[in-house]
Subunit: 343 residues, 4 copies
């Protein structure tokens, strides 16, 4: 028996990445793919790479309204924030469908922070308490039983996985945390803008939304604070790399008194034992090591004669940073092997 | 005494390239830079690379209407076809200003071909006879006296410079000419589209407008026919390369009976003696050899045991393929050293 | 029962690509991976992306000599030409192992052509007659029973798949064939040279080995001649594209009298019915359409008012152009589902 | 009267960049270009982009020995460290020639630090006291009279220019300085290695020599300590960006009590008034803003509600980070207009 799944907003970059993974997943039957702007268009016209990979019956994009008449086992929403919360509401109400929302709508537990960050009222604040933040390795227990999983942002995943065990165990101090993160261009989404124009991106490197302006910061702060058991206010500086995919975060932290890099590794090994997608490594990881894989890898270096450690973390922003983790969460929610469709 | 120049549509890619060259040109005083969509915006906001390079007085974009109140010695139009012809009309009428039009509006002598190619009536067919096709090395004589020069397309320049002397001298046959051309993404212009989105261009190579659909083909055919003294119908296949700038054309031709590759080189050496920007070379040229330079370089190889020759031609589509040749034409028109501002 | 396989020369780019595919193949057990220069090195040190993907027992590279003591069901040789023929000899003699040779050693049936092309005596000319050229869709019948399959070059596959059915059926003429091909840099192999240095490749496009110098040309000519039933002497011009992977071939051909583009498509549809990896398409294919896939796709355009057709063909040079086709041949040789491990 | 200059090691990436600039410099006559590995080779064979740009008399590379028989006004050494100090010795002794050394040999005043960093004895420690660190804007006074200028490393220039005025004025604290720097691949030099192979660099982003291992760190620390009037021990993390050129440094610093971002800007404006190549800017600079320019640009952002500031600094590692600054130093040494040949 395969599980039926639908994808809302299937023509964005996370949508096509999710489909790339789903067509190989042995436990899934794709029920439909939807797009408001391209209803009726064959999916392969939009992404020729998936020609002949989608079952004939679902190879054409349907409208959101048509999608909402159905009740598949699971729906992945690849819609933008604000739009997503409303679009998944009918599924959450049908008593059957479970939802993995890749948008930001349910990532923040604190409604006020959401409304400040995204500059509009939350469409369904009554659901915030029930939503689970889908950082798979950290919140697995709650994801198992969840009806609504808020898939984390790409940057946060690269920062939270290495830091959370260290804060939980008191290996690093919660003060002075700095995450200097670098992302490929696919993180900017499918829309053609000056910021995604080849001529302006290629042979260019830039920082943006420096000093607390990026929307992923509240999500990072909220999760780190939860791990720490008290407020944490990290710095976060995102940068744009002239490549399609990949994130590398360089994280600066102070060791707690008496702790060393060995304690960092021990905490990681304990937290992530038998977790195939969160991997401490010895050699410094590079983004290409995990391209098209669902792994997040991280290593630690201690500055000689200092209590400062530098953590280097990598993932594929389209996979562990988005659609791969969404599928991992799906596997967890439905009691499937966690790696199914992801190796 | 410096010559005053204005630039219409200065915020496109050919506009900024022209400015990059003009700010170094010792004989030029920039009178204004115009943009309809960004009137009043400081130029350095649009292109920070030119910050502090434009004279304070002209560092802000003015409207076309304001521009048209002036009568500089020369105007470069970087506007799109159809719009350009109308915009330069006031200058052509003021009795002083000479115009270099980088659009396609005056490239084709044959009005019917223009109207079929660009799918609209020609805005000023009465000017076609007086316009000179600005392929500098070929039409220098007429450019000298011209009031209106139509700057060639980027692809045509890379194909015409190597082929015209060979057709004129009867070294190659006018039949069976094939130009397989490859261009960097800047050729697609400044507008953000799916076709210029980094994620869809990077790590991708494509052919487009195959089999006679590209708008540069009529221009190529008209010029080759002129050189041949009879109709020539070449094949032309454009391709998109994941790089910012550069064009390489691989041209297949049949030698006339009794001719060899040595005759090809002899014809080139004769046609382009003392011409610094049209350079026959021995080693195969690569696009990077001429990046940010105004040179077009080309080499010949004869297929062993065959009368087929392969010509490989390169140029920078933004320089010799557009703004550099425009400036070269300006130098010729005003009797300046041809290389001024271009070395 | 899984089939045991070994990989000679597993640290080159075709080696790692083959492993990327094999670790997902459900019918294969990797027996060993060998490297002369890196014997004893853990494979994941060389390619961290495969960390934890190889079974512990075979995760370290062994010597060729150690490899040759074994007799797996199949050996893939990713060694360079000349070295490969000698290295696989012990396997060919052991009475059990079947070999897929990714080098050029057995691609050419004509020993004299091989020796001229590769400038050394053929190491084992006695095996030439028994080797099968592994262009899967074309020589499937012979591949099924083969002990030694010579995997085709990357460029030839992109040219032969679209052309062979047309020559066999007399749709295009055997004269005047031109293949203007463009390849990503991985085709140049793993070795660090000026020609693979990022600074000299990036933002550069070049032609090389123009006018019959490339070693893939004899292979192309031999196969086309076989399909035509008489000598064919195509032109072939390779180019280097600043991207990692992908080949696009633009092929110029003359239709036979009375034939049209529709006949081209009909011949393709007939030849490749039910063949998942050779796909005629309507829209012009781009290299990104088939990145990391084993498909070769091709489309046709007829020049209006002319008997000239232009075929545009794409594949991933590392997959259908090398390791993917090798695995496809393996599947065919052992009677497995042809697509196993390749979707 | 033009000044005669020679270039030792002219075939490396800094060598060709220097030549690109020198051929346009109106006050310079190139006396010779040298290369040990390519003596006798025409320069244009190595770098076709400079074909026809070098005077005929010096268009062929000479040996170091031949070069050392001459006494030009200035010699630029583009040789690697250790080799450079010995190679320039004859010029330093001839009583006429002044030297700009682009290697690391004379960058560190402290011999012990040099010997630890570069793991060999200093070839000419007696010259250390007389060498001037060529950070043009900071040490202009001493550069003017210098016979031997040690041109700074590419990373240090991007970090020192924004930080030195702030330390001098006590605007930021000397503790907790972090420079997270990102460089294009040309910083790795001309040699073909795994680290410069297109396939391993493209679509990849990596950190390297994390936690104090990079050789530029002692140079940064020494200069910052000098500005601070006491030891400073910054963190420095270099990263590799898949692009040819450009460095962006993201610098984290703590404001001194009572100071704000406005004080940062004021200190910069004061220190760099009328300095065309060190430019405080308001908008965040990107590397492409300064590509092929000699400018270093930097902006500041203060973290809201915190005393932390983030400085973002960019330069072209080949120009202000190497050959451009070398030429700027030359201009200063010889009393020429500082911008000559650099605009």
């Amino acid at each position: 028996m395969k599980l039926s799944v639908g994808i809302l907003g299937a023509t964005g970059l996370t949508g096509v990445e999710l489909l790339r993974l789903l067509v190989r997943h042995p436990g899934v039957e794709i029920a439909w793919v939807s797009s408001e702007s391209q209803t009726g268009v064959p999916y392969a016209k939009v992404y020729p790479s998936l020609a002949n990979r989608l079952p004939e019956a679902v190879s054409t994009l349907i409208s959101m309204q048509a999608a909402q008449q159905t009740a598949p086992d699971a729906v992945f929403s690849c819609l933008p924030h604000a739009a997503s919360a409303g679009a998944i509401e009918p599924f959450l109400k049908n008593g059957k469908t479970r939802v993995i929302d890749l948008s930001a709508d349910y990532r923040l537990a604190d409604r006020a922070v959401y409304e400040k960050t995204y500059a509009h009222a939350h469409p369904h604040p009554e659901r915030l308490a029930g939503a689970v933040y889908g950082l798979s390795e950290i919140h697995r227990q709650r994801i198992t039983g969840a009806t609504l999983v808020a898939n984390p942002g790409c940057y946060p995943t690269s920062i939270l996985l290495p830091l959370i065990p260290l804060l939980r165990e008191g290996i690093v101090l919660p003060q002075n945390l700095i995450a200097d993160s670098k992302s490929g261009v696919s993180g900017a989404g499918r829309k053609a803008t000056d910021g995604t124009h080849f001529v302006f991106v290629n042979e260019n490197f830039s920082a943006y939304k420096v000093a607390g302006e990026h929307r992923h910061l509240p999500e990072i702060a909220e999760q780190l604070s939860g791990a720490n058991g008290g407020a944490v206010a990290p710095l976060f500086t995102p940068h744009l790399v002239p490549m399609e995919r990949g994130i590398l975060s360089t994280i600066y932290a102070d060791l707690a008194p008496g702790k060393t890099a060995a304690d960092v590794e021990a905490a990681w090994n304990k937290a992530y034992a038998n977790m195939p997608f969160a991997r401490p490594v010895k050699d410094l990881p590079q983004t290409a090591d995990v391209t098209r894989s669902n792994e997040c890898r991280f290593a630690v270096r201690q500055v000689p004669g200092s209590s400062k450690v530098i953590l280097v973390s990598v993932l594929d922003n389209m996979v562990k940073g988005a659609s791969g983790q969404a599928l991992q969460n799906f596997n967890i929610m439905f009691g499937l092997e966690e790696t199914l469709g992801l190796l």
